[in-house]
């Protein structure tokens, strides 16, 4: 397991629609909370001029959670929004992805989430592409 893998799946689980994750993970293995789901805020920052120094744009709601599976594996989650079930499921999934169960969880949870996220992104990009202006120059008299 590399950090990049884990960084990617924790992000994917965090950005997944909570209801969809609940469908994909209807039951959870036994686990205990190191940090019960906690709702808070993260200050979102921007850059002046898009590329300059940072400034505070405003906060967004975040729920974080840390769990331990019975075999001792730890799972962490920080997810956007205020859904405690989402944070718990994401933390459990993070732990499971570090166990022998990872292949199954990748296939049953991560793959559909990744596909659906890509589809969603592509659907919007396709609509945006259809509104791209194709300029054409009107024929000018002096050219003839």
């Amino acid at each position: 397991m590399t950090t990049m893998d884990r960084k990617a799946w924790i992000g994917l689980l965090a950005r997944a629609p909570a209801a969809r994750l609940a469908e994909l993970m209807p039951t959870l293995p036994p686990h205990s909370f190191l940090r019960p789901p906690e709702i808070g805020a993260v200050m979102v920052r921007g850059r002046i001029g898009g590329t300059g120094s940072a400034f505070n744009l405003g906060e967004m709601t975040v729920t974080r959670c840390s769990i331990r599976l019975d075999d001792g594996t730890l799972g962490h989650a920080w997810v956007q929004g205020r859904d405690k079930g989402h944070a718990t499921r994401a933390a459990v999934a993070d732990a499971l992805l570090q166990t022998n169960d990872s292949t199954r969880v990748k296939a049953e949870v991560l793959s559909p989430l990744a596909t659906e996220a890509a589809e969603h992104r592509n659907a919007r990009a396709s609509k945006a592409a259809a509104t791209k202006v194709e300029f054409f120059t009107l024929q000018r008299g002096e050219d003839q």
Binding site: L34, E38, S66
Partner: protein, 189 residues
Amino acid sequence: MTPAALTGGFADAPLQSAQAFRSILQAMARPGTIHDLTGALPPPPLSVAAGVALLTLADPSTPVHLAGATDTPAVRGWLAFHLGAPLVGAEEADFALGTWADLQPVSRFRIGQPDYPDRSATLIVAVDHLEPEGVRLCGPGIRGAAQLSLPGIPALQANAAMFPLGFDCLFTCGTRIAALPRSTRLEVL
């Protein structure tokens, strides 16, 4: 981060931190009174009371200074997970932890500015002995006089003399806590 760093926090943060905040508020409002502060298990050498006070008061926007023997990998990991508070030198700290000896010289800590006396540090001092005896306390929040077993009395008297500037202190011993705001005057009997 070790698994030990992830344990020992509040189980029910909203309720427990509200209760702990109330106790700390009482301690601060009634200097010299001793209150129980429980509900978390920080790694040693932090006392339970010091851990609970930090969980209640500190967050990513309050820089913390770990003095002397308090600065261990276990404590750093625990603070990172449960508080997210940045660790800084004494001069920038909102909160500082350690024994009285570790915290010397206390002149390093922020005492606020005349127009913003609140921009000052709170020292969370670990003591071996915390009893209502010894130096006499008087001032706001004390009916008549109170007594508290305190270290470093000359430095604390000097701090009180700077009022409204100065740092504030919380003294912790196991699960017990008492407070010494800068407004309290100390008289050696």
